[in-house]
């Protein structure tokens, strides 16, 4: 029983939040990685694109609620998602047309595109704040829990409860669907393969008759979709605050680089590496151990590797360590 309690504790405080946050990071990192492999620059605006996606989801949810449509117990935002994805994709395509295309055709250095993406980041964050304001907004209007800790305790009789929020469940399921579709697209369809071919060997792809414009169109299509989903899910799980998305950029880059930038599988693994290390390093193991070893043997003080204040800093530390020790990441990615 004690051991089960210990496991329940770990599941509740590490596995479930880790999976949720990992999914959000992985979706973000996939977007960054795909832009990097095809367009060859680090897109600092990706966090703001996610924020843009979340914002459109909220705006459309408001319109939907105005017509009293709802799919309770699921949050209304699920209904809004397809439309907001389309809007985010259009925004991405517009940005590409007016900002990135010129430098791509001029063959500017990739650092220039990176700086352009910072311009896009400023512009988008301004646009978002003008449109919806900087305030905190709750997205979730559905049921709060799939299973609450109290109910779980009642059913199982354990002292430790496991709670699974609806937003967490949705995050994990939607992420799995998105990733499966993405991999199907990249590996099984002709267009997806042509994208991989383009990023693998651009000159040869052109010789084979693959068209640059098409590849770039699909790249932004995927990026916009991923950004919108990731942004909306992140906002659904926590709450929508525009400025948090700026802080999300670096953890996303960390995930992409840890996994090996340019490698979609790496991006997913990287997302989970970051999310779980954040939780494992800042988790206080006192209670966990109290279930496993006699109380007398428990060491005094908090059994925590780093204080929770450093939670986000962990992703930066991992990022810097990986860059210095193994810049290609876990799965040999492309070197920037």
């Amino acid at each position: 029983m004690e051991i089960i309690n210990a496991f329940a504790l770990i599941i509740n405080y590490i596995i479930i939040p880790g999976l949720t946050y990992g999914c959000q990071l992985a979706l973000g990192a996939l977007g960054v990685t795909i832009i990097y492999t095809v367009l060859r620059f680090s897109n600092f605006a990706h966090g703001e694109l996610m924020s843009f996606g979340a914002m459109t989801s909220i705006l459309i949810t408001w319109i939907i609620s105005y017509f009293d449509l709802s799919i309770y117990p699921l949050p209304t935002v699920i209904l809004a998602l397809p439309i907001s994805i389309l809007i985010t994709i259009s925004y991405c395509l517009l940005i590409d047309k007016y900002c990135f295309k010129y430098h791509r055709e001029k063959n500017s250095k990739n650092v220039i595109s990176l700086i352009v993406s910072i311009g896009v980041m400023f512009f988008t964050s301004g646009l978002i704040r003008v449109l919806i304001g900087p305030n905190d907004r709750t997205i979730n209007d559905g049921e709060r829990f799939i299973i609450s800790a109290r109910k779980f305790k009642e059913i199982t009789g354990l002292t430790e409860g496991i709670s699974l929020k609806l937003s967490q469940g949705i995050t994990i399921i939607v992420s799995i669907i998105a990733v499966v579709l993405l991999f199907w697209f990249l590996n099984k369809t002709k267009t997806g393969k042509s994208m991989r071919a383009y990023s693998d060997n651009k000159d040869l792809a052109l010789l084979s008759g693959i068209k640059t414009e098409n590849v770039i169109f699909y790249t932004w299509l995927i990026t916009g979709t991923l950004a919108c989903i990731a942004g909306t899910l992140y906002g659904l799980d926590k709450s929508y605050k525009p400025f948090t998305y700026l802080q999300l950029v670096l953890p996303i880059f960390a995930a992409a680089i840890v996994g090996g930038i340019g490698n979609p599988i790496g991006a997913i693994i990287g997302g989970f590496v970051i999310s779980f290390s954040e939780l494992l390093i800042t988790f206080s193991y006192n209670k966990f151990l109290s279930y496993l070893i006699p109380i007398n043997f428990l060491p005094e003080g908090s059994l925590q590797l780093l204080s929770t204040d450093y939670k986000i800093a962990i992703s930066f530390i991992i990022l810097v360590l990986v860059l210095i020790l193994k810049p290609t990441g876990i799965y040999k990615g492309k070197l920037l």
Partner: protein, 442 residues
Amino acid sequence: MKTDFFSEKKYINAYLVCAFLFLLVGLFQSWNVAFSILNLCLISAIMSIGINIQWGNSGIVNFGVMGFAAIGGLCGVLISMPPTLEVWKDGTAVILIILFSFLISGILVKKFLKKFIYNKYLKILLSIIIILFSLYLIKSIFIPSINFIENTNSAKTGYIGGLNLPIILSWPIAGLFCGVIAFLIGKIALGLRSDYLAIATLGISEIIIYIIKNEEWLARGVKNVNGLPRPVPYEIDLQKNEFIQTLSNTLNLSVIELSSLIVKGLYSILFILVLLIIFFLLQKAIKSPWGRMMRAVRDNETSAEAMGINVKKRHLQVFIIGSAIIGISGAMLTTLDGQFTPSSYQPLRYTFLIWIMVIIGGSGNNHGAIIGGFAIWFFWIQAEPIGIFLIELITIFLSDQNEIKLYLLNHAAYMRLLLMGLVLILALRFFPKGIIEEEKRL
């Protein structure tokens, strides 16, 4: 030495435009506002010179401006504030010694690992063990002393305090200290190029901010340090001064306004002095054989290397110099503010805005960096009025009570982000060389 500060007409024009803008602000808004903007413009100009040295002269992408500026600010606190005597008497000295020896031993261990252990995985394993061990040390020795410091009079001090020296000393010291930090960072990160270096330096600067925010014993963390001593007199003292009082009568200004004008003016003079010193030293360096070598490295690394230039060493030098300059400006900023607020360090404001200054000003030219610093900071401050004006213009056909118009006007403050992004994107497209082009030198 005669320099060419005003030798070329286009520079004069750009500087005159800046002066004219300040005149406008002084006349139409207030001179107080004009001088506040000027002071921050000067600091921004110094920061963008720091980046310009790295990016314009060597192509190094340093996104760590925020970190160095914060370290500079920290120096301001540690130099100028009175020491917290209680903790110096018993706890802290121990900590500092341990901290110091810890750093040294850390470096030694790294050297040892490099020299004697060839197996990569063993090396990683050993590093992890060392890190865990040091974490244990931190837990068992550091934490108690830290708690002691933080609990000593925590409402007012709760940190180690400073050296009680004139704050102006912190400016050169911040430069030195940031130089040392830049050396350490450069040693490990400069092997990376462009995108990776940008991300790495951004990450490192975030880590620095996190440490400053959370290690309260160092500089009170998010509790901020207020009331830093000043290099210039206080307004209240000035107001008591008879000469000032008579001056205010003759100028027909209130004493309060005049005194704050004088204080700001004195700051401006100090900042201009620093800017000029840095500028002239750099111009001299750029014209020297060393500067030529740097440009050779930037324009073609491979051939520079083939000519026997140690590219890595050059990059490290430039990285240190640029970061030191940013550190100096960081200390100046804290001096001007009179307080150190770690949570105010945001990458948007410190890293990316400075980068916009460099790009807009024209990379590779220090005049450009100064003008860029002035222009962008001015724009950053004045973007809200501009935004309101633009919204009024767009919604000219809507009534004053129109909801959309009111909504937009309420959110005009955020127009500055939007406009700034627009300026950067447009500049990169239509004026990639910036306001002032790089000087052609042989």
